[in-house]
């Protein structure tokens, strides 16, 4: 395969990681909402943990984006 084409294919494959992170972030907020509706009184105290979970899930998707950007613009 032509190296230039392989780079673009690799960048496209890295986008799978962004989609996976979307599942993760959706899972974090979905689970939070589900349990927050069961016990609204405890929800406000858990907002910090919500955003920690969000940050951890999102970081991995952003890493996939970095890989794509490196393949397209740097490598």
């Amino acid at each position: 395969m032509d190296p230039e084409a392989a780079k673009l294919v690799g960048a496209g494959l890295a986008a799978i990681g962004a989609g996976m992170a979307a599942i993760g972030v959706g899972n974090v907020f979905g689970s939070f909402l589900e349990s927050a509706l069961r016990n609204p009184g405890a929800a406000d105290g858990q907002q910090g943990r919500l955003f920690i979970g969000f940050a951890a899930a999102e970081l991995l998707g952003l890493l996939a984006f970095v890989v794509a950007m490196i393949l397209i613009f740097v490598a």
Partner: protein, 261 residues
Amino acid sequence: MAADAGKVDPMQQFQIEPLIGEAWEIGGFNIAFTNSALWMAVTTLLLWAFVFGGMKRELVPGRWQMAVESFTGFIDDMLEANIGKEGRKYLPYIFSLFMFILFGNLLGLLPVGLVGLHPFTFTSHFTITGVLAIISFSIVLIVGFWKHGFHFFSLFVPHGTPAPMIPAIALIEFFSFLIRPFSLALRLFVAMMAGHVLLKVLSSFVMDGLNYGIGTSLMVAIPSFALMIAISALEILVAGIQAYVFALLTSLYINDAEHLH
């Protein structure tokens, strides 16, 4: 990869250009006043004006004072929840950090391009976010070693770890500790860069769609433009969330240094 003529280059917005003093040098390093430095100065001035306007200390706060106080109260509550009463002394740092990142993110989103100015999001550069992360990490290290001395290394062995597991756990905890400044800096930088690249890519769809004729205008340009507006709204949300996450994680790391675990 260079952009073809007439196309929007999504990376061009991150170009750092010297504005004045291209020849200024200290020890062989160029110290020109760049557009990045200009926007940081603008952010600092606006932040100073915003906070200064709210420091009237009136008993019944007006709108402006209320806005500033709700920000300081928000950060104070976050520190109280994450660090406890010792968290109060980090309020100036965390508040400055949060507001600087928030203002920087939001200023970079302003549509001042309409009047010919070129907005520059300095938080989309790893050098800037990296320095902010290094400052946070240094505070963690200094506080940790100042307060606990070499006992600070017990951070790498969580309480109640079974003896045979200690070497493996300590190694993992050590690397997870060392990787913190990178993940902190990378998260902010990539989140801001990704959003701005996405907006520029969509804008190139809009322009190319309009240029190719009525069919592509209807099928491509208008949906892309609608998506651009939605993504811009999302970017405002992301600007707030990323500033909050940076401040939140910094306060969590400081909590580790204050209390070990």
